[in-house]
């Protein structure tokens, strides 16, 4: 770039900003917003499901169908329930682990622990689920009578296992960034450890937990493979979308609106905690 051109660019911050933002915005517009819009539009068409061809007639049938069929709403409700359960369980497990890593473990073992938490992210998702399937074999399996068998408990447990690192990392970063004096201040003002934790640490960690929950929640919400492997006869929204997708795309699109809405509502809710800027 010539010096001259750079001087001009320097004088025009708007131009620079445009240059920086345009590539990502065009990309996301083209490859994210456009497909979503197309998908939403598709929900208002219908398929001749025998031939697999879409019939381009505007119709709200699919959307109305999805929103009024009790079976689908029930599945949506259960799916949200699973996502909430997974998120809570992840938070419950992540808190002591992250607290230990940040406050108890020595500076030398901290990176090791962090690596230990991160490593499972590289093991294949499918293999991990399959390992859980083996672990959870009802009766006579590894866990013997302690196994909950295949069902919702198994689904929540397995999803928690899969997404736990996504919760541990932000919570760990949150605790680490609480400078020592916050924690000391509570003790100094008379609070015992548990009171400190309840009154200061937990509320201050809320944004970090919320940031982690975006992942645990959304990844659980969209999953359809885990439930196939360890969910017994149960189904989640993802399965509904997946199983109808190839037969009846407009219907699947209408179903996909449900997780989309749930997630949008979720993001709006936690935006107030400031979690989104931490992602």
């Amino acid at each position: 770039m010539t010096r001259r051109l750079q001087a001009v660019l320097h004088r025009r911050p708007g131009l620079r900003l445009t240059g920086l933002l345009t590539p990502a915005l065009v990309w996301l517009g083209l490859f994210y917003i456009a497909p979503l819009a197309l998908l939403l539009a598709t929900a208002f068409f219908r398929t001749n499901s025998f031939t697999g061809r879409i019939v381009y007639d505007f119709s709200t049938d699919n959307v109305v169908d999805v929103l009024t069929t009790p079976e689908y709403l029930l599945t949506a409700g259960r799916t949200v329930g699973v996502a909430v359960g997974v998120t809570l369980l992840c938070a419950l497990l992540a808190l002591p682990l992250a607290t230990y890593m940040a406050l108890v473990a020595g500076p030398r073992s901290r990176p090791v622990l962090l690596a230990l938490v991160l490593t499972p992210l590289w093991a294949s998702y499918l293999v991990k689920v399959y390992a859980w399937r083996v672990l959870l074999v009802p009766e006579g399996g590894l866990l013997g009578a302690a196994s909950p068998g295949y069902g919702w408990t198994a689904v929540v447990l397995t999803l928690t296992y899969l997404w736990l690192p996504y919760m541990v990392l932000p919570v760990y970063a949150g605790i680490s960034s609480m400078r020592g004096s916050f924690l000391e201040a509570t003790a100094d003002l008379g609070a015992r450890p548990w009171t400190s934790f309840r009154t200061v640490v937990l509320p201050m960690l809320a944004p970090a937990i919320a940031a982690g929950s975006v992942f645990t929640f959304s990844l659980s919400l969209g999953d359809y493979i885990t439930v196939q492997l360890v969910g017994g006869t149960h189904q989640m929204l993802g399965n509904l979308v997946y199983s109808t997708f190839s037969v009846d795309l407009p219907f699947a699109a209408a179903v996909a609106v449900l997780p989309l809405l749930v997630m949008a509502a979720y993001l709006l809710t936690i935006r107030r905690t400031g979690a989104l800027s931490r992602l």
């Binding site: 001749n48 499901s49 025998f50 697999g52 689908y72 190839s246 037969v247």
Partner: protein, 379 residues
């Protein structure tokens, strides 16, 4: 929300879209072929160097083959509809949809020399022939058997009853197939159990018959451990006793019995559903020569024997039985045992025009089957 008169593809019409078969001759290959197949149907040695009938084809014809496997018939239809594939191994519940969806072309069987050796039993069937035109080459067949754990069944079961009747000893440990086409299994049982419904073809159900089948499935659901979609998973369950009875394939039992014999199979007295796959060619494929060469290759005695053994099914080519490594393979799979197949109802896509020939009622079309199945799964 099914078929109105504004559909572009005719559904209620007797005749499929206008199409003529390739007249031939089959000449030099175009150099490339894109294959969509059930896993195990088109092995190129990448899984196991010993299992390879694609490479010899490539060497013989110069057609470079890329293979994509699919997991369900629904996926097969969806993938093939993208137009990316030249040939597909379609089961009976997919083939008609491809035909009526105008995705495939009629096949000129004269251009496939090995067609002559195909079991007559499999030729000109509703799932591969429409309006007198053949739309593909039969590849093999299998029945959806009753699989059972030997430990819990000192005497072999003879009926599907334990999988359907409430209070059965297998409750909580049964495993039906996870697809809308399983509604036909309910219909097969009803054919024997409730003759008054008048079901003659499990793929041609009017509203009453359909409702009865769904009711039966709903009654079954609480007893289900898992709807199966994976033979390894299912075999493991049967072997360990987690599953007591299941609808499934001979292949599953064979797998489960590799270490010790723990799983038995039987075709119950009510009969069973089954499948027969057909190799079909994409409409307007630019690789027509390679496609015909592939069809001929894959049903050749050697290749067909290899596939049948590797996948676990009865070969379509009558000469294949002599070529299997396991000399008992064809016996085990009842390949040429005509009587065995009498009460096996091959997967066929249900359409609104009853395929059992009734003209006084409308049957329930496939999309309604899928909806009903989806709702059942989510209830």
């Amino acid at each position: 929300a099914c078929g109105g008169s504004d559909d572009t593809a005719p559904v209620l019409d007797d005749s499929p879209p206008e199409a003529t078969a390739y007249a031939g001759p089959v000449g030099q290959g175009e150099g490339a072929l894109s294959v969509l197949a059930w896993p195990g149907y088109a092995e190129d040695g990448s899984t196991d160097p010993a299992v390879d009938w694609v490479t010899p084809f490539e060497q013989a014809t110069g057609c470079q083959v890329t293979v994509r496997a699919f997991a369900t018939s629904a996926e097969a239809v969806q993938l093939f509809s993208t137009g990316e594939y030249d040939v597909v191994s379609a089961s009976g519940d997919a083939s008609l949809r491809l035909v009526y969806g105008d995705r495939v072309q009629p096949v000129n069987t004269d251009l496939v020399p090995n067609y002559a050796d195909i079991l007559p039993d499999l030729k000109n069937k509703p799932w591969n022939t429409v309006a007198g035109k053949s739309y593909g080459i039969p590849h093999g067949r299998g029945a959806n058997l009753l699989l059972y754990n030997l430990a819990t069944h000192p005497t072999p079961p003879t009926s599907w009853a334990d999988m359907w009747e409430p209070g059965s000893s297998a409750a909580g440990k049964i495993s039906p197939y996870n697809d809308a086409i399983y509604i036909a299994d309910a219909a097969v049982y009803l054919m024997a159990k409730r003759p008054e419904l008048g079901i003659t073809n499990p793929y041609a159900l009017d509203q009453t018959q359909f409702d009865a089948a769904i009711a039966l499935l709903r009654q079954q659901k609480p007893m289900v451990a898992e709807y199966w979609g994976d033979v390894v998973k299912q075999g493991q369950g049967l072997a360990s006793g987690t599953l007591s009875e299941a609808q499934g394939w001979q292949l599953t039992a064979n797998l489960a019995n590799t270490d010790a014999t723990t799983v038995g199979t039987t075709k119950p007295i009510e009969g069973a559903t089954g499948w027969s796959d057909t190799w079909m060619i994409k409409k307007d494929t630019p690789h027509i020569n390679c496609a015909y060469q592939w069809l001929n290759h894959i049903v050749s005695p050697e290749a067909n024997a290899q596939v049948a053994e590797y996948f676990g099914e009865a070969p379509a080519n009558t000469k294949s039985c002599a070529l299997t490594k396991n000399p008992d393979h064809c016996t085990q799979y009842h390949a040429q045992e005509t009587g065995f197949w009498d009460n096996v109802y091959y997967w066929t896509t249900p359409i609104e025009q009853c395929i059992d020939g009734r003209r006084d009622v409308e049957c329930i079309g496939y999309d309604e089957w899928v909806r009903a199945w989806t709702e059942l799964q989510n209830s």
